[in-house]
Amino acid sequence: MSKIHHQQPPPFAVAFGIVMQGIRIRLGRSIVTLMGVMLGIAFLMSMLTGQTIRQGVSRETATRAEARRMVNFLVAETGPLAGRGLNVLAAGPLNPTERRVLMDLMRAGITRIHWAGATPPADLLPDTVLQRVTAPASFEPEAAALLVMGDGAAASDWLGAIYTKSQQVVTATRRILLPDSFSSGIAVVGLEREQQPEELQAQADEARRNRFRSGWIIVISLLVTVIGITNAILMSVTERFREIGTMKCLGALSVFIRQMFFIEASLIGFVGSVLGALLGALFALVAFGFSYGFDLALAALTLPHLLLHAALCVAAGIGLSVVAAIYPASVASRMLPASALRSTV
């Protein structure tokens, strides 16, 4: 009685070699499959990048509008700013809106800024304008206004000193920076716009609806992609029926056949999604660049964001291709070796 052993699948390199050769020889078919992955992933990438650009642009637009409103408000209280000075008390680091306010103030013609408190943003204020002060007494008495800004608690002794000794307009970009009670004879203006809870709620709802809508579109489009890839691989299984049957006659295990299809799918998925991510990012940039302006669109995109999205897309591309290959691979691996013997093709 002779002994029958278990067949061991050949090493990964064998399957990989056969797959690479197959892809090279059947380049046309592989490219069709690749196009499927590429288009699906390009769509995903353009959605992701587009969303980032849109969010960034709308955040930037809101910041600019808010800053413009604050400056207009300030001008309404103090009169034109051209050629005048400004006292600034910085309670902490500035947010984008406050930085924008400073830029707009400079543009409005402020010539001197006496700055107290936290470090001033050197990139916005040239040395010729900026003058740092360490005591309330050093503030310019004729300045148009005292502007309190920054993330932190305003020094109330500073404010108190200002309140009592000058007739200046005191303004703040944040409501929280102003004390509750004021001395008489001082105009105190909060520049921050008060947002109603209903308004905030409505914004959050709108954002959620948007996320859901784009999520839905992405899911549907990826499903279509998966089905497209499945169809392409299924066609190539049909094409290779004899080949697979022959391999089974020669002792290939079902595991090996499945492995080949999964390797092929992940290779095509990888290349397709890298190309797709490039294409999608480029498309989103061009499309949004033309509608919002390229400087705004580019400013909204950061490299870490892009890389994160690209990594997500490549992972999704490989994952989807492998998922798409499950059914064709199982069809191929369940094939009877006897079908290789059928001579009629």
Partner: protein
């Protein structure tokens, strides 16, 4: 094609079990295909013993169950009822891995349409069963080159099958069948697509494999020359063996042997 047999012999290590054994035994094999409500009886109780080193020809019109029997004794399909023993092992008892092992090492298949893997070179085609058998790449390459040399194709190992003539392709197929030194060569109409001369070479090659190395050769064929060279001819009709005879007992000149 001259076969340097002493060289071929090195591929087939001598068997420690002396004497003839039954290589394939089929006992009352039946096969029923179901197509919806219709049952097709492809085999209606076939029993046959095939000895080690026998050169057996299978004959029968299409639909006679010839290919079904061929698949059964080649371990490519399992019977509906009855037993098939390959080298004294009941194939119904084997799981998928063991059957794959059996196909890989015990049996060499030769197909009517060669069935070479088109995307691979000749050398890779011959190496493939060796890879499945767990041979290292370098070792497989050396052995494949050796076998290709034996079948007279040493000068074009890196050609794709499509670049070769029918006869050359069938030689590659033979080399591939010999890759893991099988006990059984199973050939389906191996000469049907070959010209007269190449066909004769193939027949002689089978005969010498049988004579010198004790390989069991089973061929489905209608080729007169092949039938005459075989040890036994089986006629199949309607899923049953209707006649078995040595070529000496057959009058090939008359129409009766069809």
């Amino acid at each position: 094609m001259k076969l340097p047999l002493p060289k071929l012999e090195s591929l087939f290590p001598p068997d420690e079990q002396a004497g003839r054994r039954t290589m394939i035994r089929a006992v009352d094999v039946r096969k029923v295909y179901r197509m919806g409500a219709v049952e097709t009886h492809a085999l209606r109780g076939v029993s046959v013993d095939i000895q080690e080193g026998e050169y057996l020809s299978l004959m029968g019109p299409s639909g006679s169950g010839k290919s079904t029997l061929f698949n059964m004794i080649g371990g490519l399909a399992k019977p509906t009822s009855g037993k098939v023993y390959i080298d004294q092992v009941d194939i119904a008892q084997l799981d998928a891995n063991e059957i794959a092992w059996l196909r890989c090492r015990k049996i060499g298949y030769i197909f009517q349409t060669y069935n070479l893997i088109q995307v691979m070179t000749c050398l890779e085609n011959v190496m493939l069963p060796m890879s499945f058998a767990g041979l290292e790449n370098d070792e497989a390459r050396d052995k494949a080159m050796y076998i290709l040399k034996l079948v007279g194709l040493a000068h074009r190992p890196l050609h794709k099958p499509a670049e070769l003539s029918g006869g050359q392709q069938q030689r590659v197929a033979l080399a591939r069948a010999l890759a893991n030194s099988p006990d059984i060569i199973l050939a389906d109409e191996p000469t049907a697509n070959l010209d007269l001369h190449t066909g004769e070479e193939m027949i002689e090659l089978f005969a010498s494999l049988r004579d010198e190395l004790g390989v069991t050769v089973i061929a489905a064929t209608h080729d007169l020359k092949m039938l005459k060279r075989s040890d036994r001819i089986l006629w199949l009709a309607d899923g049953q063996i209707i006649r078995a005879a040595h070529p000496r007992e057959v009058d090939f000149a008359s129409g009766e042997f069809h």
